[in-house]
Symmetry: C2
Subunit: 387 residues, 2 copies
Amino acid sequence: MGSIGIVSPQAMHFAEPLRLASGARIADYTLMYETYGTLNADKSNAVLICHALNASHHVAGTYADNPKSAGWWDNMVGPGKPVDTDRFFVIGVNNLGSCFGSTGPMHVNPDTGKPYGAAFPLVTVEDWVAAQARLADQLGIEQFAAVMGGSLGGMQALAWSIMFPQRLRHCVVIASTPKLSAQNIAFNDVARQAILTDPDYHGGDFYEHGVVPKNGLKVARMVGHITYLSNDDMAEKFGRKLRNAAENNDYKFGFEIDFEIESYLRYQGDKFSEYFDANTYLLITKALDYFDPAREHGGDLTRALEGTRAQFLVASFTTDWRFEPARSREIVQALISNRRKVTYAEIDAPHGHDAFLLEDPRYMNVVRAYYERVWEECQRGTAKEAA
Amino acid sequence: MGSIGIVSPQAMHFAEPLRLASGARIADYTLMYETYGTLNADKSNAVLICHALNASHHVAGTYADNPKSAGWWDNMVGPGKPVDTDRFFVIGVNNLGSCFGSTGPMHVNPDTGKPYGAAFPLVTVEDWVAAQARLADQLGIEQFAAVMGGSLGGMQALAWSIMFPQRLRHCVVIASTPKLSAQNIAFNDVARQAILTDPDYHGGDFYEHGVVPKNGLKVARMVGHITYLSNDDMAEKFGRKLRNAAENNDYKFGFEIDFEIESYLRYQGDKFSEYFDANTYLLITKALDYFDPAREHGGDLTRALEGTRAQFLVASFTTDWRFEPARSREIVQALISNRRKVTYAEIDAPHGHDAFLLEDPRYMNVVRAYYERVWEECQRGTAKEAA
């Protein structure tokens, strides 16, 4: 089990306009992507990895200029890893509206000659999938062995199974949900309000002012981060430990840092505000809020999933209170009602929502075992038939 | 069962300086308070009500000039109500550092002639209790029939039982905790960061600038409010309902309000930012974070409660995820280890942390039954002996 080693991102340009769910359209756009492994002769071994809120096309491997730049799912994707790049041709793609290279709010709006800013149209999970499908077209991939993602990435995988039922044999949905709850939306709106009311946001045109709404982004990230961690894990890691407890085990009686958890969260917030784009953050929270495939079926998820043809792996984590296991079970139930083949794993892991990114033998083994099956199918050449 | 009717706040001034836990001192101060019912001849029927984050001395009744000004626990305190003002002499007191009349950051610092602002010293739960004890002295109340509070108010009741074991016969601790968890502190710090980084905060001296850090306060309140409600209750009340669903059942594809839950939370945030003081909010979140009576006993709550003499009613709510029932059970366990008399009620109520303020027959009946016993004791004149 080794690392992929040095990888390089690629860019693909699409000259054809893309019509969005909002009614807006993007005249032309670029998607950044990376690939790992080799596409086989019948192009049956491709796996698409969809990213969540703050990730990108850089799923695995490292960049030549930075040995610390391991991809966000480097523990999952690589030679001998659960998604084995000695077997599969894995594609990571950066979504529209992101701040990591694909066309987004930081880029120049051809209509105005200035950065899009808040004028970048809101995109939905379905818009992302439509854009990803064009990338697949260009790469000559008619049908994926699997489309896979965690959290918001899982929503994209699910949308693939609905929008392009013939184009994936397996759909892997991890730590996800068929729709956000009121509480999920509420946390997203807190984050948005923090950004929108930061004076440095300038209605989204902060690029022109040479500033970044760092304070808003920081608060947004802090509140988001709390929802990624489990209560118990936070208690275990931080509890009520004081910062610099060794030198002075007393409260500071001011608004500086008293507790380790404050130090940790503020650090996470600061770091995030230095690399993430505020308009992208806003846009992605809206894509999360809007995702609800059952909506056009009167709230009936079973009907929404009626047209799917893939086989499914659905996985959730016991301590995930952002998208708790019950949300995954809703997906499983609806799939079973449609007589789809579903494997469901509810993994007893302590790390809350973040567990989908972390090393956990039970989790990794579930995914590994599932991909063994996907690979056996590839080898049996049952690829095209399965759909 | 009626209402108390018209009530009036009173002010009591204390010329004696108060030494605080931080080492700072307040030269002199005023506490606002209200009383309901009549103090009996042997002064054995007094009940002190301690308030939580955003409440005040105005516990029950209404003000003459505003019929909508019912006190925050008007359902709990009044003639024939669980805390029956036909029997008990009930005192509501506004804490130091509050923005509802007791000396706080908005008031003039005698040392500078300007409002305290952020220079108002941080106060702890124990400081509040010490100040409340002086009020009791002035009112000639040697021993309370009960000291009672919910959430942060419950912490004060608990601190009373530790600091002044002889001065209360009963201690009523509702929806509270012996200390905040890392997650609790984390949410508080998000709120603080939102306020502290609002440019209108001006390092706490916003009064002089004629502004209020409304955006920061709004975000702080929004995130706080989410933690007061249960996930299920929010799902039931709001779910994914769209605002103005009737006229246009579609997403807005912008950052205005799409969902009812956004509308509700923003409204709550806006309203709060119009009446609550930012420095008070900061200060109270720190009092919450710092409360931890077991701390000076190496984390051993049993030892911290060793000196208590009161009888206890502890109550929690099943859907409260801010201070979940397990936190109340820690208190109960520590009291039982000390052979204290404890009544514990874990009430199956849907409303999360806010349940302690809401009408719920099971909850109200538990408190009513408990106060029946307190009253019987008063009548038997066992008052002084009990301690």
